[in-house]
């Protein structure tokens, strides 16, 4: 499994007043409203937790079957990477290249 980290200028924030979870980009000003699970997925990725562990956490907190949970979590991670909230760890990128070669 790939390892991800938050992109350098992204910060996560829970706002108690609006009861909303955010990812803010402090260089471009972009901001994204997250679900609670989305917020914790990103936080756990940043903490270096294994994706299977994250899927297990989401499964415990969402009323969905494990397959759906796995699919949704991976979709969320892919989408987060595409829009620049997270990126693959450099070491992982090197490993990926080695595997391709």
């Amino acid at each position: 499994m790939k390892k991800y980290i938050l992109v350098e200028n992204i910060i996560l924030k829970f706002d108690e007043v609006s009861n909303r979870y955010y990812a803010f980009c402090i260089s471009t000003g972009d901001h994204f409203i997250l679900t609670k699970s989305g917020y914790f997925i990103l936080e756990f990725l940043e903490m270096g937790k294994d994706i299977n562990e994250i899927i297990s956490f989401v499964h415990k907190n969402e009323n969905i079957d494990l397959d759906t949970c796995k699919r949704d979590t991976l979709n969320f991670i892919n989408k987060s990477e595409k829009i620049g909230i997270i990126s693959i760890l450099k070491e992982e990128q090197k490993n990926d290249k080695k595997e391709h070669n």
Binding site: S18, S27, I33
Partner: protein
């Protein structure tokens, strides 16, 4: 995941930047909140960079950018001021105000100002009738200001007059309003005196809650029957006069839809709340807006203390945090002038 371009913590349509482009000033008013008058303005290219960045931020947040350009006295460096006006005129800016004492405005300046379509109004200050005003703002300042009002009105500028009220001038609100009516002034703004900067030792000028209530009530009643000038109260508490009248004031904008930029690029939550939350030469406005612990604290009404906590007027008031800070050193304390 949603990429709603509205900044969720800012529910107003407008984002307001109060930009102090210089500390330099040609007056030394006794009630001034500034603590120095050194000409420590940034270089023009730095100012332009900041101006562009602030406009970009408003655009990113889907807000109408509104600027008040002030100082010190902004006309002490007209070239910087006009260069910023040129920039803002071409950018996504809804409106621009200039807050000035007006003493450096002449026909030439007026002719230069005329071309700026986004210049909504020029705000001058008077602190009462001639004797009281001149005691605070300097000899001859009342007559000079009246002359400038007339000159600007002759050229069809929209004029607002701000009066900062304390014990020294509380009985002159209505008499001054009557003079301003004759001069066809558009808006009359009452602000509350906050002892800070040059005036931090003038706490005896501060009005009691009962006195503020009387001044506000008298003014509100007077302006009910007065089409012009329009009456506007700054620094909250207006809701205690009539919570159903949204036209006389606005909720405190700290952490919501405004910041103050100082001459050296420092960012304050409000000019009257002199706590630095960042600097635009070192970081983006996004970083400041999204990460300042002070701003996040301010956004949460649960942090309010005393009478302000659990007050039914929280949605439209919250008291003046700058006043609480100046008097108690705790910006979450009860607004010391609230008469509720």
């Amino acid at each position: 995941m949603s990429n709603n371009h509205l900044l969720e913590t800012a529910y107003e349509e407008e984002f307001y930047f109060q930009w102090h482009i210089t500390n330099e000033c040609n007056l030394r008013c006794k009630h001034c909140y500034h603590d120095n008058y050194l000409d420590d303005s940034l270089k023009l290219d730095q100012l332009i960079k900041i101006g562009n960045h602030l406009c970009d931020a408003a655009k990113k947040w889907g807000k109408k950018a509104s600027f008040s350009l002030t100082g010190g006295e902004p006309f002490t460096n007209p070239e910087n001021l006009f260069a910023i006006l040129e920039l803002l005129e071409t950018r996504n800016v809804d409106r621009i105000d200039i807050l000035t004492n007006g003493f450096l405005i002449d026909e030439e300046i007026i002719n230069r100002l005329k071309k700026f379509k986004k210049l909504r109004r020029i705000q001058l200050s008077l602190e009462g009738l001639k004797e009281t005003n001149d005691r605070i703002r300097g000899d001859g300042s009342f007559d000079k200001t009246i002359k400038i009002i007339k000159l600007l009105k002759d050229h069809s500028f929209t004029i607002s007059i701000m009066m900062t009220i304390g014990k020294h001038n509380k009985d002159e609100v209505i008499p001054l309003a009557k003079e301003l009516k004759v001069l066809n002034v558009d808006t009359f703004i009452l602000d509350r005196f906050i002892p800070e900067g040059q005036s931090q030792n003038k706490k005896d000028w501060l009005l009691s809650p009962e006195e503020i209530k009387n001044v506000y009530s008298e003014a509100y009643n007077y302006f009910q029957n007065c089409l012009k000038p329009r009456f506007l109260l700054y620094r909250t508490l207006f809701c205690l006069l009539n919570p159903d009248d949204p036209h006389i004031g606005a909720i405190c904008s700290v952490g919501n839809n405004a910041v103050t930029i100082m001459p050296n690029g420092d960012v304050l939550p409000c000019r009257r709340l002199p706590i630095k939350i960042g600097n635009l030469l070192e970081e983006t406005i996004y970083k400041i807006w999204y990460t300042s612990p002070l701003l996040w604290e301010m956004r949460n009404p649960k942090n309010l203390k005393g009478k302000c906590n659990n007050c039914e007027h929280i949605p439209i008031c919250r008291g003046c945090r700058a006043m609480a800070y100046a008097i108690t050193d705790d910006y979450f304390e009860t607004d010391p002038q609230c008469w509720k």
